[in-house]
Symmetry: C2
Subunit: 152 residues, 2 copies
DNA sequence: CGCATTCACTTAACATGTTAAGTATCTTCG
DNA sequence: CGAAGATACTTAACATGTTAAGTGAATGCG
């Protein structure tokens, strides 16, 4: 069997870990996890979003998101209100405090990203992201539990 | 701020998830998680390994590995014995049952990997892995908690 | 030898990943 | 209208990620 440490899943895992290791300490200084930071960033870019939409944007599963939103709400970093038209949906938005926290963390985050870009090379980084996107695309809707009806 | 859904960490996360989504269902059929499978594969390639060595190979943190080894041992998929020379170390090896399970899963796993390779293209896959390796390398020992003494 | 330090591993505590089940609301259709 | 089904979440349960603290064994050194 192929040496699994050279397999694609392991390559992706190690590469991502190498990248995230750069960010985690700074996020931690502000009491944020990687996932919480993703949610704040996603919310900062829009007025408000439904939970399902936010899950898709931040690439989190529903149950994880539910827990995290509960915690972020308790820390007053986000706000929630049920939609008028459909009581099932809740609209999530970032709070004033959340915006302040973002503003405090963003510069360091940007600096770290710039450092990574500079080290690896901007052109190579773009190429890498292009390939990752293609990989994702060519595997789309090929898993076991997809909402596709005409699978073989 | 840059659209975070196009950031490197998200690209890596989505790509890896797209890949793992192909494998998880089959592993699940055999009652294995991705991490348990990594450990079995790592052990299958060697006679026996110390826990720390195994953690490095399977890319797992010590605490995670401790729990997983406890469970795999309870399921009789691995065996442990403390080293003679150093009572702190324990040598882990795959059991006969573990080998049997590997043999049962390996063909499907290989088939899935082959399918991915074929879809994405073998040459492109090699290029991607090359870039991922370079990324990992250029970020090595740059995090906050590394055992490097001469950091800036 | 003896004791502080280091080392290998485990436990603990909390956050998230993952699947299944639950709840409340909305929609559909007879 | 009203019951069956669909939808948008939430909870539950178990496995892992992550950091800190704990435990027992080996080492270094006076």
């Amino acid at each position: 069997m192929r040496d699994f440490s050279r397999s694609l899943p392991m390559s992706l895992l190690r590469a991502r870990e190498a990248v995230m290791r750069q960010f985690r300490p700074k996020l931690r200084e502000h009491g944020l996890t990687e996932q919480q930071w993703r949610i704040l960033r996603a919310l900062a870019a829009i007025e408000a979003a439904e939970v399902t939409e936010l899950a898709r944007t931040a690439f989190l599963l529903g149950p994880s998101l539910s827990r995290i939103l509960r915690d972020l709400e308790a820390r007053n970093l986000i706000e929630r209100k049920t939609a008028k038209a459909d009581q099932r949906r809740s609209m999530v938005s970032i709070s004033r405090e959340g915006v302040k926290l973002m503003a405090a963390v963003a510069p360091s985050s940007e600096a770290i990203y710039a450092e990574i870009t500079q080290r690896f090379g901007a052109r190579k980084l773009a190429e890498l992201q292009e390939m990752l996107g293609e990989l994702e695309l060519c595997l789309a809707s090929t898993g076991a539990s997809d909402d596709v009806t005409d699978e073989t």
